[in-house]
């Protein structure tokens, strides 16, 4: 299996880590300097954390589905590793969305939770990613194929869930809110989004590299067993 030499891999991770760190420092400064929203005050700043996490939850689901298609229909082992890694990141960022959202909602709406389209679809998306990880861990011999099928159903479910819940009264801010932000807020928002996306890229690269190494070890163990059998 052709793999990158460890030195070039660590260099790549170091550079990516440094860029991520730098971006977060700049984004945090921009968020601190961004003007305060008149009605919500400091609570509005959750927005710079909440929206990028929601975007990464969606991105993770789509990458997980893409990797699953590659594995299920093309037999791509790497696709499978990417799918697993992105599902795990989906669980992580989904948790961030589901914690930060209610905190903001309590201050803005007076309640922690509303059965509204965007909230419900985020919750279900997160549950599906958790189900994916559960299926991978406890699904038995066909865990990988089972999880891949789950990822495909999850991806197809996104519009269905969103559409079905949209018929309830919607009080969640719309996505068009970004274009109505004042310039100071808009800059901070895009910087935060970029920082989070680069962080996601760093995390998935490291996670896939770990899975690659695990697969290499299994291959080496098989080779070792075969060599020992021959010797015997």
């Amino acid at each position: 299996m052709p793999t990158q030499p460890p030195s070039s891999r660590s260099l790549r991770f170091s550079i990516l880590s440094a860029i991520t760190f730098l971006l977060f420092v700049i984004a945090c400064n921009a968020i601190a300097d961004a003007p305060r929203e008149i009605t919500m005050g400091l609570v509005q700043k959750i927005f710079y954390f909440h929206v990028p996490c929601a975007w990464l939850l969606m991105l993770s689901t789509l990458v997980c589905a893409g990797g699953s298609i590659a594995y299920l229909f093309g037999g791509s082992e790497r696709g499978d590793r990417i799918a697993l890694s992105s599902a795990e990141l989906g669980v992580l960022f989904g948790l961030c969305v589901l914690v930060s959202g209610p905190l903001w909602a309590r201050a803005a709406w007076g309640v922690y939770w509303q059965w509204e389209a965007r909230l419900t679809s985020s919750l279900l998306l997160w549950l599906m990613m958790v189900a994916y990880v559960l299926a991978r861990r406890y699904g038995g011999p066909s865990a990988r194929r089972l999880a891949a099928a789950l990822a495909l159903f999850a991806a197809i479910d996104i519009p269905l869930v969103y559409f079905s819940v949209r018929y309830f009264r919607s009080i969640h801010p719309q996505t068009t809110v970004v274009s109505t932000l004042v310039p100071g807020m808009r800059g901070a928002f895009w910087l935060s989004l970029l920082a989070f996306t680069v962080l996601w890229w760093l995390l998935i690269s490291v996670r896939v590299a770990v899975e690659d190494r695990a697969a290499e070890i299994i291959d080496l163990e098989v080779l070792l067993d075969q060599a020992e059998e021959k010797k015997a």
Binding site: S142, L146, A149, F153, D157, L160
Partner: protein, 232 residues
Amino acid sequence: MTGSFWRFTLLIALKDLRIEGRSREILYTMGFSAALVVLVFSFALASASDPAQGPILAAGVLWSSTLFTGTVALARVLDRERENESIRSLLLSPAPRAAIYAGKVIATSLLMLAVEILLTVLVGVLFSTGVFTHLVWLAVILLLGTLGFAATGVVFSAALLRSRSREALLGALLFPIVIPVLLAASRATACLFDPLSPDLDPVSFWTRFLLATDVIYISLGLWVFEPVVSGD
């Protein structure tokens, strides 16, 4: 080819129904547990006697019970193939994998529908709701909802065939995926049960939504069933 597909589908569905006709194992156990689930709900919700909420409660209980007991049917219909390793013979037979899938979906749906008749009567009696006012609409919604559930469930149940924790996992993986079906079916049913409902427009909307969901789920199921079971 199309002719043989339908012939195999019918053969597999009839085979499962014939086995069930002889043992009646699924029907009796599922029917009994379904009745118990409805009773448990009615005990738990006995104090909620607001007549305006009656139809919503009745529809919710009907569909929640259907989902819980449906997983029993799904697990058993596929479990029978594990005994004596008959799944291997089934997969080695000239029947296309898609026909095996379609046959299983039909058999599971019919078994579930038989139990749903009992469930509907029970819900009508225990929640004092006129459940048979719009009989044809109710039959259509029950059929479409059950089909959507079975179309997804058969894929996961087949993939979990060799897992040790299949009973625990099946529900955990399936429920987040079938939420759109549950939502649409319970909304439409609540509207049908409501004597004060002004018209059937929402019912017609949700029925079309269910139909679209079924088409998507069945297409995806036919597509992924083969790679999911091909490793067995």
